[in-house]
């Protein structure tokens, strides 16, 4: 099908890209600027902040903590979120609307309040605060997002495919494993990525339900009290570069998947 050039959406996409990259470019410039204050014109070039960043072990430690938590949350939230998406879309049970609404309630509660509430509950139940409770808290925060991401493709899913699989001798769970989930995988994967990002950047729940845990957002949030040191900007610039390169590496795969799932 011939696709001509629509100038308006193209212009908006271009503007969107500039808008997306503006802050990234800005703080990268500042991360090479000697002055710890963020204003133009830049007063020179230095890589001291990067040196200082690598010297400061705290960022390394909290990075490991944040990645560990985010990875575990990604796995748990994706499994539970996907199952709940099936419940919302396919279950034929009484009060389903109410239960589905209940399932999305955590979305509406401000994170700060959710954090304080979770901590009180964990202590009351006698759960020792620590890594486990942070992961649990983040799973409660992130799972509704995963469910939303999986629900869209699930609504469009052609039920005849499941019927065909069953008809050919696959039991209900084999059908799920070999037909339904692989076809829904793009939605599930973007839900998983979202869960990882939400947990990785989350501060409040990590602070309140954690103990002896200093996640990266906690460190950054606390550092900014005395003025966000350029070392944090250096970290941000570095991590963006690393991820951008990784994304370009994985691009061919993503392209094939995008084409595949047309």
């Amino acid at each position: 099908m011939r696709r001509e050039f629509h100038w308006f959406p193209a212009a908006v996409t271009g503007a969107m890209l500039v808008y997306s990259l503006l802050p990234i470019v800005t703080f990268t410039l500042f991360s090479f600027n000697p002055s710890p204050f963020y204003a133009f014109p830049l007063t020179g070039f230095t890589t001291d902040w990067y040196v200082k960043l690598l010297a400061d072990g705290r960022i390394g430690d909290s990075l490991v903590a944040s990645v560990t938590i985010a990875a575990s949350v990604m796995v748990a939230a994706t499994v539970i979120g996907t199952m709940f998406a099936f419940f919302v879309v396919r279950a034929a049970v009484p009060f389903k609307r109410v239960l589905a609404g209940l399932g999305f309630l955590p979305l509406v509660v401000p994170v700060l309040v959710l954090a304080a509430g979770l901590q009180v509950t964990f202590v009351e139940i006698g759960l020792p605060l620590g890594f486990g409770t942070v992961i649990l808290g983040h799973v409660i925060y992130a799972t509704p997002f995963v469910t939303l991401m999986v629900m869209a493709p699930l609504y469009r899913y052609n039920p005849a495919l499941d019927a065909a699989a069953r008809d050919l001798g696959a039991g209900p769970f084999t059908t799920l494993r070999l037909v339904t989930l692989p076809i829904l995988w793009p939605g599930i994967r973007s839900g998983a990525l979202l869960a990882f990002l939400l947990s990785f950047n989350e501060w409040a729940i990590a602070f309140f339900t954690g103990r002896g845990v200093n996640s990266l957002p906690m460190l950054v949030y606390s550092l900014q009290r005395n003025g966000l040191p350029p070392t944090v900007l250096a970290y941000a610039a570095l991590s963006t570069a690393v991820v951008a390169i990784a994304a370009l590496a994985v691009l061919p795969l993503v392209t094939r998947l995008l084409r595949g799932s047309k």
């Binding site: 002055s35 710890p36 204050f37 963020y38 204003a39 400061d56 072990g57 705290r58 490991v64 903590a65 990645v67 560990t68 990875a71 575990s72 990604m74 796995v75 748990a76 499994v79 304080a116 901590q119 009180v120 964990f122 202590v123 020792p128 605060l129 890594f131 494993r177 070999l178 989930l181 692989p182 995988w185 994967r189 998983a192 602070f207 309140f208 103990r211 002896g212 200093n214 906690m218 460190l219 949030y221 606390s222 550092l223 900014q224 009290r225 005395n226 003025g227 966000l228 795969l253 094939r256 998947l257 595949g260």
Partner: protein, 371 residues
């Protein structure tokens, strides 16, 4: 820890998306190893370990390593940007923090929440070497028993950019002068704007204002609001405002002078109406018992020793309360920080203690913010 769910490890002919699953499994694998490693660390820690709830800039690695080497006690940290965040957590219990930083401006509220324990200054050799004025400052002892060890202090007053204003300032009124419209910054946190305005209006007890006085202060602040460029949330925010020229005059903290080294001619005013003095102190929480109690007190003593105070001044420009630390610092650093004649600062400053009815102050400040 590693979640080996049915979904991920199953083979099955998913030709197209198999690489995704390997990638997800790898991530989960990493999580397993890292968590295991982190989980295990506490178990192998040295005999005693304490957790310090504080601001990140008070607990930089080079500040803690001398104590950890000397005493063999590991000091873990739990960062917050505002002491009230930690207090909320301590109130619920199970926070696992043994010593926390709180300021004169907030310690009464924290004590009121019943999360602190008294300490024994006899066990702290450095207590006698502290600047005398801090031993008797308000907000350190409750029910006659000492609770806090002040280790950093400062005063708050009007700070202005001489290059921009070209005149000396010695009156709080400048903050309310329309001449400086759009160039003023006022503090957002800790009800400090209310207190500063109380000083300006000559109210006798800025920390125990009656509702009427609070209303008066609120009216003045609402009138001032159009002149204000921004309410700064913390010292970092304020430094940025002054250094980037967003504002030229503000009510600020002593550490703001730190930006002089970046070629900005900031001057400290000694307004006629007076200034505020505050300190940050270490307090022992009720979660410290037995062994951790001893370790906590040893650590609190270290904070007012000569090494910690010196590093504090050098790296982040904070003022120490320990005379031995001042002696250990090099001379011109002492001079730029104004530590050489700390009496002149302390003489005119009123100790900033937490307000008697915090909710009244909060309601007043809400009115200003919501206006």
């Amino acid at each position: 820890m590693k979640r080996n769910t049915h979904l991920i490890s199953a083979p099955g002919p998913w030709a197209q998306s198999r690489r995704d699953f390997l990638k997800t499994a790898a991530l989960a694998g990493v999580a397993g190893i890292a968590a295991g490693h982190l989980g295990a660390r506490p178990a192998f820690a040295k005999a005693s370990k304490i957790v310090w709830g504080t601001n990140a800039d008070y607990a930089q690695p080079d500040m803690l390593s001398p104590f950890q080497k000397a005493s063999g006690i590991e000091v873990a940290t739990e960062y917050f940007s505002d002491p009230s965040e930690l207090v909320t957590k301590l109130r619920a219990g199970g926070a696992g923090v043994h010593v926390m930083t709180d300021g004169s401006y907030h310690s009464d509220i924290t004590y009121g929440e019943g999360v602190l324990k008294p300490i024994d200054t006899a066990k702290m050799p450095n207590w006698d070497k502290m600047i005398p004025a801090f031993k008797t400052a308000g907000g350190l002892a409750f029910d006659g028993k000492p609770h806090g060890i002040p280790y950093a202090w400062g005063t708050d007053s009007v700070v202005y950019n001489f290059d921009a204003l070209k005149t000396e300032i010695d009156d709080l009124g400048a903050l309310f002068d329309p001449k400086y419209k759009g160039q003023i910054a006022m503090p957002n946190g800790l009800f400090e704007s209310l207190v500063a305005t109380a000083l300006y209006l000559g109210i006798e007890k800025p920390f125990a204002m009656s509702e009427k006085e609070l209303d008066e202060v609120t009216k003045v602040l609402i009138k001032q609001k159009p002149l204000v460029r921004s309410y700064w949330n913390d010292i970092g925010d304020l430094k940025n405002l002054m250094a980037t020229g967003e504002v030229t005059i503000c009510w600020g903290w002593k550490m703001l002078l730190d930006i002089k080294q970046h070629g900005i001619d900031v001057r400290w005013a000694h307004p006629k109406q007076g200034e505020l003095a505050w300190y940050d102190a270490a307090f022992m929480t009720k979660e410290a018992e037995g062994e951790t109690e001893e370790a906590t007190m040893a650590f609190m003593d270290y904070l007012i020793g000569d090494t910690y105070g010196a590093v504090l001044g050098k790296s982040i420009g904070y003022l120490t309360t320990s005379t031995s630390a001042i002696a250990a610092m090099d001379k011109d650093l002492v001079k730029t920080l104004g530590l050489d004649d700390y009496d002149s600062f302390l003489a005119k400053a009123a100790w900033w203690t937490s307000p008697t009815q915090p909710d009244l102050y909060q309601k007043a400040w809400d009115k200003v913010l919501n206006a």
